[in-house]
């Protein structure tokens, strides 16, 4: 996993609630057995005017000019503003893979769905929860000022606006540690092999039917 410490980047606003993982990456693209290459199909049904299928040359497909990420001013954005319950629905990790492949490293929203939130951290994406009132302000400023950038500092747990105003955010200490250092969870867990074996031994006595 690529580590994350600080990022100063262009911001794109996706102003709708309950954006589900089917919208983030439609099901026909889940047939891939790889982790990469999902970026061109991020928000596929909203982003293109035709119906997308795996194997198409996405550069030749007609873009939906009304979709926010297609606007010239948001090209190269790496921070996404979203609304309530972002990432709800399916557990598909293809959703964070698609966002990452497209270029997003930070998503800022008033709330996230649990599984999606968790999946982000496994892929070097930082999901930041910001209260709705501050979210409204961020949306307003992003729309008002072309080239609007934010600086995200994970270690300091801050988002700094162009004006110098600083928003603080909460992040779980363990997840922060893993993200800052790009740590592989499995490697960390395997440091506790003895604990797992001890648990299995005692559990097999209490609940032998689970181990027969």
């Amino acid at each position: 996993m690529e580590k994350f410490d600080t990022l100063t980047a262009l911001v794109a606003p996706l102003d709708r609630s309950n954006v589900d993982t089917d919208a983030i990456i439609p099901k026909q693209f889940l047939k891939s057995i790889k982790r990469s290459g999902f970026g061109p199909n991020l928000f596929d049904a909203w982003r293109y005017l035709d119906h997308g299928e795996p194997g198409m040359d996405n550069r030749k497909r007609p873009l939906n000019p009304d979709f926010v990420l297609n606007q010239p001013r948001y090209q190269g954005a790496r921070i996404l503003l979203a609304r309530e319950n972002f990432g709800c629905g399916s557990s598909r990790e293809h959703a964070p893979w698609a966002l990452l492949d497209y270029g997003f490293r930070v998503i800022i929203a008033p709330s996230f769905a649990d599984i999606f939130f968790n999946n982000c951290f496994k892929n070097g994406i930082l999901p930041i929860v910001v209260p709705s009132s501050q979210m409204d302000e961020l949306f307003r400023q992003t729309l008002a000022q072309e080239g609007y950038q934010l600086t995200v500092d994970l270690n300091a747990q801050t988002v700094t606006k162009p004006s110098g105003e600083v928003l603080s955010f909460e992040v779980d200490a363990f997840r922060k540690h893993c993200l800052l250092n790009g740590l592989d969870d499995i490697g960390l867990t395997l440091q506790h092999v003895d604990d797992i074996k001890a648990y299995e031994a005692s559990r097999a006595k209490e609940a032998p039917w689970l181990f027969h």
Partner: protein, 469 residues
């Protein structure tokens, strides 16, 4: 010594903590891992790249379900991309020694149908799968939740997951439901009340008389949709029905181990004074058959109601969401639900494809014909064994006589990864769990209903209270 009263979730959680970290994260032991073809290839690839083996190979059970065709199985999978994904699962299971029910095995089916059916899901277990509807298995008094592919790899490699404990929510459905009101109507009504994010951060225990009155299959339909209320896990306390359901299934313990297990399972309920962070009370008698009208499961009303009017919604963000949904769904505010006609009907999915669901739909369809305006009405059993049972009961004949198609088991048009899908603009009465934009095919319009309501819509060509047919 008095102990602190615990919820069912607390008990399940505490019994599986391998170690606690300072920040409250726990390493949680996973008893059962179910695997399907869509969310596992990258996890197996990760294992291979790191030179790792599954920690406890017999804790895993695999089945292809999302991509499998529901017709002409003998011809294999026509779509090469789908075929590769299913073959990759077959290859990975063979390589790592994982038990798999391949596509043409009678035991093949939707992963959330076969787990309980095989007794691979047991009370008191922690169970995970790379699929959000894993919450289904909580109906048996298990802690079951969906995970992403990185976590699939983590479970394969370590038999554990790093987790933060959720908060406790009790959804208490009090009293008795009216005739014709099913588990699906109950859970849709719950989601309508608490919203699609109402359960975010919580594990939901469903309780109350109306839940206790449900069969185990009905409880599965309820727990299945806990995730549509935002909760990763839904669960119901163990009772005699749970134990009777599990008994004799292939993976269930036998003999002395069975007696020991049953004794332990009797404790799988919340203690009387256990603390819940949130309690929601719902009057079962007030629930009517439900139909969703929008693009989120919370956009739901009773069949005798009208499509809501965004102009009457005080919250501007919500009103805007309603307008977008009505636009996508091609509906006008204030249209009576019973005036909405359908193009297709889908009876199936991990929510509603079990034998009782098929019986309920068949009871409505019996002796009727699918309406002329319905282009396709299909029944997709949840597993090969459900299909077999239904055929023994003659349900296939009832459906076929009425003009329904009778298909092979799989996820099918719930998410349309195989050939079963809606065309743009088509409207479907579906017993599945998500009415998201494009879920059943790009531009497709999904209305979530119970199996009886779906069958009734097929017969009448529009929504109608199934009990009034």
């Amino acid at each position: 010594m008095a102990t602190t009263p615990k919820t069912l979730y607390d008990k399940l959680w505490d019994a599986h903590v391998v170690r606690r970290q300072d920040d409250g994260t726990a390493l949680l032991y996973i008893d059962r891992h179910l695997v399907h073809e869509v969310t596992s290839p990258q996890a197996f690839e990760g294992l291979r790249l790191a030179g790792r083996k599954p920690w406890r190979v017999q804790a895993n059970l695999a089945v292809p379900d999302h991509n499998v065709p529901t017709t002409h199985r003998d011809q294999g999978i026509q779509d090469p991309v789908s075929r590769l994904q299913v073959e990759t699962l077959d290859d990975n299971c063979a390589e790592f020694g994982i038990t798999e029910y391949p596509m043409n095995d009678i035991r093949q089916g939707i992963v959330h149908v076969i787990g309980p059916e095989q007794g691979a899901t047991l009370p008191g277990m922690t169970l995970v799968c790379g699929d959000s509807h894993t919450s289904t298995h909580g109906a048996l008094g298990a802690l079951a939740f969906g995970i992403g592919t990185s976590e699939v790899e983590h479970v394969l490699a370590t038999q554990c997951l790093l987790q933060k404990k959720s908060k406790n929510m009790l959804v208490q459905v009090n009293g008795k439901t009216a005739t014709g009101v099913t588990a699906k109507d109950i859970v849709l009504a719950v989601i309508g009340q608490i919203g699609t994010a109402g359960g975010t951060g919580y594990a939901i225990e469903f309780g109350g008389e109306a839940i206790r009155d449900l069969s185990i299959e009905g409880r599965m339909s309820v727990c299945n949709m806990a995730i549509e209320a935002g909760a990763r896990a839904g669960m119901v306390a163990v009772d005699d029905k749970t134990i009777a359901y599990v008994k004799g299934r292939p993976f269930a313990p036998q003999g002395e181990l069975w007696d020991q297990a049953v004794a332990a399972w009797q404790h799988l309920h919340s203690d009387p004074d256990a603390h819940f962070d949130r309690v929601v009370n719902i009057d079962a008698a007030a629930i009517k058959p439900q139909v969703t009208w929008g693009t989120s499961p919370e956009m739901v009303v009773a069949v005798d109601a009208k499509v809501p009017d965004p102009d009457q919604e005080a919250n501007p963000t919500k009103a805007e969401g309603m307008r977008k949904a009505l636009d996508y769904m091609g509906l006008q505010a204030n249209t009576p639900i019973t005036d909405i006609s359908v193009d297709k009907v889908f009876i199936g999915s991990c929510t509603n494809s079990r034998i009782e669901d098929l019986r309920a739909a068949a009871a409505v369809a019996k002796g009727h014909k699918v309406a002329d305006n319905v282009k396709l009405a299909m029944v997709v059993p949840g597993s090969g064994l459900v299909k077999q049972q239904a055929e023994q009961e003659g349900l296939d004949k009832i459906f076929l006589d009425a003009g329904f198609e009778w298909r092979e088991p799989g996820c099918s048009m719930c998410l349309a990864m195989n050939a079963d899908r809606l065309e743009p603009g088509e409207r479907c009465a579906s017993t599945s769990n998500r009415n998201f934009e494009g879920r059943q095919g790009q531009g497709g319009r999904t209305h979530l209903v119970s199996p009886a309501m779906a069958a009734a819509a097929a017969i009448k060509g529009h929504f109608i209270d199934a009990s009034k047919l």
